[in-house]
């Protein structure tokens, strides 16, 4: 059945898939292939474009996540300890995303303007580390969300 509540939940879950899926694809599929198949100058050209575009996608998805997440809590009608922990983790994830895409992303963009540079490798390594940390926290958030829906459903209905 398609209700507004279901639609909001659908958009929320889709935004998670887009944000997390994009990062996973970039880290585990695109980057290793680029490293193996392209020469450094071409690789850098592709990587900097990917980082910028992925940043726009992930951060836009985060905005949608927050907007739909707030509506979901309204529909749920409960603020539990589990939800409070989840919200704190969400704040950390957004902070990491800003650091990853706006700070590190901009530095990578600047450093790689004229092709490969010695400062690029550590920046890319840090970019990857921050991305992995972010992904791990998002997975934890997803797990907590499952807990929320399982614990809260009988509580709200009963």
């Amino acid at each position: 059945m398609l209700t507004i509540r279901m639609l909001v939940l659908f958009v929320h879950v889709t935004a998670v898939i887009v944000a997390l899926g994009g990062s996973i694809f970039s880290t585990f599929a695109l980057t290793p292939i680029l490293t193996g198949e392209l020469e450094p100058p071409d690789r850098v050209k592709v990587v900097r474009r990917v980082i910028r575009r992925l940043g726009a996608i992930v951060l836009s998805a985060l905005v949608i996540l927050i907007a739909t997440g707030m509506l979901n809590v309204l529909y749920l009608g409960v603020i539990s300890v589990l939800l409070a922990i989840k919200l704190v983790l969400v704040v950390i994830v957004i902070g990491l995303a800003i650091y990853q895409y706006v700070n590190l992303g901009a530095r990578i963009w600047r450093v790689s303007e004229n092709g490969p540079a010695p400062e690029l490798a550590p920046l890319l390594a840090r970019f990857r580390k921050v991305g992995l940390a972010q992904g791990a926290i998002v997975l934890l958030i997803v797990y907590l969300s499952l807990g929320l829906t399982r614990v809260m459903a009988p509580m709200v209905s009963g």
Binding site: I66, L74, V78, I79, I98, Y99, Y101, V102, A106, R107
Partner: protein, 170 residues
Amino acid sequence: MKPGVPAYRRWLRWLTVAVVAVGVIATLSYGSGAHLIVRYLDPPVGRWWNEHEYALMIGAASALGMLLAIRFGVRLIEDAAVRGRAAAISIIAGALILIPLARVSAALGRLGWTGAGGFDTYAMNTIVDKVLIAGVYFLKIAGFGILAGLAMFAAVAMAASSGAAPRREA
């Protein structure tokens, strides 16, 4: 104020001080029913204050949350030009979404830990309890403001960083 402080930092500081002042006054007044004193002194002003103190309280709480988020977000950006642009646009965007955000956050702030509304027994409490409940309510709204403000800042900062060529702050 130091001469080299960027304009956006001054704006952030003054706006934060202003919303804290408005928030504290409105919350204390809402919790203690202080509009009665204002009504006694000047009935039309007292009536206006009574009608608007709640809106001012939730608006100030949401604005405070967003401003704190912008201040935090700004610290994560190295590039001075991006930082300034992102902060300025975020302040404007925050002002535009303030009213709907305050309404949603106010509704979220009423939710209790058990699913029952946190304000169910509000009217039966003493003045001290009411002020405390209103204070917690204010902080909960500010918390949701932080969340929304940070998400808004992330999108704005990404757009701002895609603009002109970045440069380091001196």
